[in-house]
């Protein structure tokens, strides 16, 4: 595999928000392939908004959004999904009224996998889901639901994976298992941008870290460099 010339995901001076309220005031960020970037910051900093912009759910007002070096401002979520962006939204990224198998069928909207491949990749990695393939997804446990959500990343083999607080409300053992998967996905060459409340968990797997505060990037660096400034950012000293 040749090294791509471009970053998998690049944001330059990006401005975006909801209606007349601007949340991101010119954010620049790069995520190279096969790299895990941890996006940290206090509540309301704009982390989730940034992921929504990067996946096309919110259209940026200004600045540039590049995917694999291609300018994609204004593309909608479905188009960006086809372009290789995969965002696992906050909460549980599943369809609660569909069965496990039907959820997996939905994930294959991008690319064309055979049902056998889908089953092999997902159930091989998460045997629990295999046991429950006929069960309605809304009745799964929190951990199983998050596994189902993460299985989308396994199936579509995206260029960029955007993860929004995948540890939320889950037991530490399951969180560890999920982050192990994140690490192995990065090794396969996927660029990963992850938002996480538990900074230590995120920094442990990250190659690079960014602190976002009040809609601006206030610090970037290696996990070790960024860690020193964390408490200041979270407690408001670095604003």
């Amino acid at each position: 595999m040749t090294t791509p010339a471009h970053d998998a995901l690049e944001l330059i001076g990006l401005r975006a928000g909801y209606g007349s309220i601007e949340v991101l005031h010119g954010v620049s960020l790069r995520v190279p392939p096969a790299t895990v970037v941890a996006l940290l910051g206090p509540n309301g900093a704009g982390k989730s908004t940034l992921l929504k912009v990067a996946s096309g759910t919110i259209t940026p007002k200004d600045g540039c959004l590049h995917v694999g070096g291609v300018h994609v401002n204004g593309a909608d979520a479905a188009a960006l999904a086809r372009a290789g962006i995969c965002r696992i939204p906050e909460g549980r990224g599943i369809f609660p009224n569909l069965t496990v198998a039907e959820n997996l069928r939905m994930w294959t909207g991008v690319g064309d996998l055979k049902p056998a491949e889908v089953a092999e990749r997902t159930y091989g990695r998460f045997p629990r889901l295999g046991e429950r393939r006929k069960q309605v997804a809304g009745t799964l446990s929190g951990g199983e639901q998050q596994m189902l959500a993460m299985s989308r990343a396994l199936l579509v083999d995206p260029a960029v994976l955007l993860l929004d607080e995948i540890s939320m409300g889950l037991a530490p053992l399951i969180v560890a298992e999920l982050y192990e998967l994140v690490g192995s996905l990065a090794q396969q060459g996927i660029a990963i941008l992850l938002v996480e409340q538990f900074a230590q968990t995120a920094l442990a797997v990250a190659d690079h870290a960014v602190i976002l505060s009040h809609g601006r990037v206030t610090r970037t660096g290696t996990p070790a460099e960024v860690e020193e400034h964390l408490s200041a950012a979270y407690l408001g000293g670095a604003a």
Binding site: R87, G93, F95, N97, M106, W107, G109, R152
Partner: protein, 624 residues
């Protein structure tokens, strides 16, 4: 035995058509989250279009059939989704409900306009004259076609929704459109396809049903209510249960028709689907209390006591002055507008403040008129005209009060239709009338039309002042809070059940009193005054006028009452009333507070403008 089989066969055929209708409803509901009240109306338009193509224009039947089913109906569904449904995404259930009711009325208008009811139109059966005989039972090809088509559709839908990616995507989009987009599916496109599919199914049911009876705009539109009942049997989700429910309704109606005496046939048979619908709704699970959501809209300002009394007095004085200038005919029409406005106040209370959609307000009005007529008038009569609807309202409320939104609307719809069929037709004499006396007052001769008109104005003004007072006090705040967030209200000790029971009863009493006064105005009432369809139009107009203000109610009622007059001046308007009402709702339906709300807002803006000007003057002075 042969009779039994023949009756069952007829019932089975009708049941199959109900099943097609109900499946269409379920498909639209599960794939877009919107219950399409206009489903039957789409079927009606399709049936007439098929008649137009195949009979009037002489197209070959198969070509006309396929054109309607595969081209025109899906196109209509797709357009409806784009124009009507998509902008309403995320809107409260009450708004989507009124929007599809508006569509129903619009399509009725189109139907009346394009195919005036003065000629009889008959569609030939498919494969006329061909029959097969199975054990002494003669089955014609048309019946066979219906049965085979229904089975094919039911099986096809089942496979489509659980076996194909598009079918699964249609269900997924209702769950979470944003996630569907993240997974590479365009939610709007999928939603549009599902409306096209739903409209196609409606058209299929309409076209198959039409040859079994003469084509009639209203009948075809309302026959879908039987489909509602079947759809509810499957809780709007389960297709097999829906089909089973439809077959039970079809066959049982047919058997009752065949075996029971004329008494039962006349009263009970038309009400069977209604009774089933009511029962199905009753057995629904209790919904979880909903937490609040962001309304994003400011409610119109509520007038204070001084202001409302002042405006009320002025209103009565103006009504008194105007009444002197009106011809007797205009007095009657104006009076009707006045009473309807009063009845609409009950909708302001119930739907505007309380957020509960009721499609049976005119039923309570009818009960009021009935009580007034039977009790011979007087103070006792007035009391009865309030008490009987209030009691009926409380009784209905007791059974449906735990339901909200759509299911409440369906339950009230079932109640209204059943009362139409069983009670009013009988109690008010088939097509006949019941005499209603006017209430007597000391000092005033209510027999005089002008005095009665002014009395109605006084009643409306008092009602409006009372309503606004209620809104400003604790009970009003409780209603608004309950509508905003039942969960939060419950944690603060507001009983959702008691509050809703109270408001439903109160609204029924208001409607009942209005009904009695309406009867008094014309001297008599007939069953046609209180039809379900009229209740729907009333709700639509009230929404158009603005469900939150008495002003809105007044404007809406007056325009309703005076429309027939306008029609005399411009005869071309003919059957346009339905069309205009529907289009008005479709256009304005997105503004939750209607015309009345706009007026209240304009007043508010004017006031704040004045305040700003004063500020500016003062600033200028200070600077100078």
């Amino acid at each position: 035995m042969t009779t039994f089989l023949a009756l069952s066969l007829t019932g089975l055929v009708v049941g199959c058509i109900y099943a097609l209708t109900a499946c269409g409803l379920v498909v639209t509901y599960t794939t877009s989250g919107v219950f399409n009240f206009a489903h039957g109306a789409i079927g009606m338009v399709a049936a007439f279009t098929y008649w137009q193509l195949s009979v009037a224009w002489g197209w070959p039947a198969p070509l006309a059939f396929l054109t309607v089913l595969l081209v025109l109906a899906p196109l209509l569904g797709a357009v409806v989704e784009r124009v009507l449904v998509r902008p309403l995404y995320g809107a409260p259930i009450g708004v989507t409900l009124v929007a599809t009711l508006g569509l129903l009325v619009t399509l009725l208008g189109v139907g009346f306009l394009a195919w005036p009811p003065d000629t009889t139109r008959v569609l030939p059966k498919f494969f006329e004259g061909h029959t097969i005989t199975v054990f002494s039972l003669v089955i014609d090809y048309n019946q066979l076609l219906v049965i085979v088509t229904s089975i094919a559709v039911a099986v096809g839908l089942r496979v489509f929704f659980s076996g194909t990616r598009l079918g699964i995507a249609m269900r997924a989009v209702v769950d979470d459109p944003e996630l569907a987009a993240l997974a590479g599916t365009k939610p709007e496109r999928v939603s549009q396809l599902s409306w096209a599919l739903g409209a196609g199914l409606a058209a299929l049911a309409g076209v198959l049903l039409a040859p079994l009876q003469t084509l009639n705009v209203t009948d075809l539109t309302l026959l879908v209510i039987n489909g509602y009942a079947a759809a509810m049997a499957g809780r709007l989700r389960n297709l097999p249960a829906t089909v089973a429910g439809a077959l039970v309704i079809g066959i049982s109606s047919s058997l009752v028709l065949g075996y029971a005496g004329p008494q039962v046939v006349n009263y009970v048979r038309p009400a069977i689907p209604m009774i089933l619908l009511f029962v199905a709704v009753l057995f629904l699970k209790q919904e979880r209390l909903r937490a609040g959501s962001l309304a994003g809209l400011r409610m119109p300002r509520t007038a204070g006591l001084r202001q409302s009394v002042g405006v009320g007095l002025g209103f009565v004085v103006v009504a008194g002055l105007v009444s002197g200038q009106l011809s007797p005919a205009s007095l009657a029409i104006g009076g009707q507008g006045m009473v309807l406005a009063f009845i609409m106040l009950s909708l302001v209370l119930l739907s505007g403040y309380g957020g509960q959609v009721s499609l049976c307000q005119l039923t309570f009005a009818g009960l009021g008129a009935y009580a007034m007529g039977k009790s011979g008038g007087g103070a006792l009569g007035l009391l009865a005209a309030i008490a009987l609807p209030a009691a009926a309202g409380a009784l209905v409320a007791l059974t449906v009060v735990r339901l909200r939104g759509l299911f409440l609307a369906l339950a009230t719809l079932a109640f209204a239709q059943a009362m139409d069929q069983i009670f009013f037709n009988h109690a008010l004499g088939y097509g006949g009338t019941l005499e209603i006396p006017r209430p007597r007052l000391p000092l005033v001769d209510t027999g005089d039309d002008r005095a009665y008109f002014v009395l109605l104005a006084v009643v409306f003004a008092l009602g409006a002042i009372g309503l606004l007072t209620l809104r400003r006090r604790a009970f009003g705040r409780r209603l608004i809070a309950l509508n905003d967030s039942p969960a939060a209200s419950a944690t603060m000790g507001v009983s959702p059940v008691m509050t809703r029971l109270l408001v439903f009863t109160l609204a029924s009493a208001v409607a009942g009193l209005g009904g009695a006064l309406l009867g008094g105005l014309h001297g008599s009432v007939s069953p046609n005054d209180f039809l379900l369809l009229n209740s729907c139009v009333l709700l639509l107009l009230a929404t158009l006028g603005g469900l939150y203000t008495p002003t809105g109610a007044f404007l809406a009622a007056m325009s309703y009452a005076f429309f027939p007059e306008l029609q005399k001046l411009v005869p071309e308007l003919g059957q346009v009333q339905f069309l205009l009402t529907g289009l008005g709702v479709l256009a304005l339906g997105r503004n939750r507070y209607g015309i009345g709300g706009q007026i209240a807002d304009a007043g508010e803006r004017l006031r704040s403008l004045r305040v700003h000007q004063v500020d500016r003057v003062e600033v200028a002075r200070a600077a100078g």
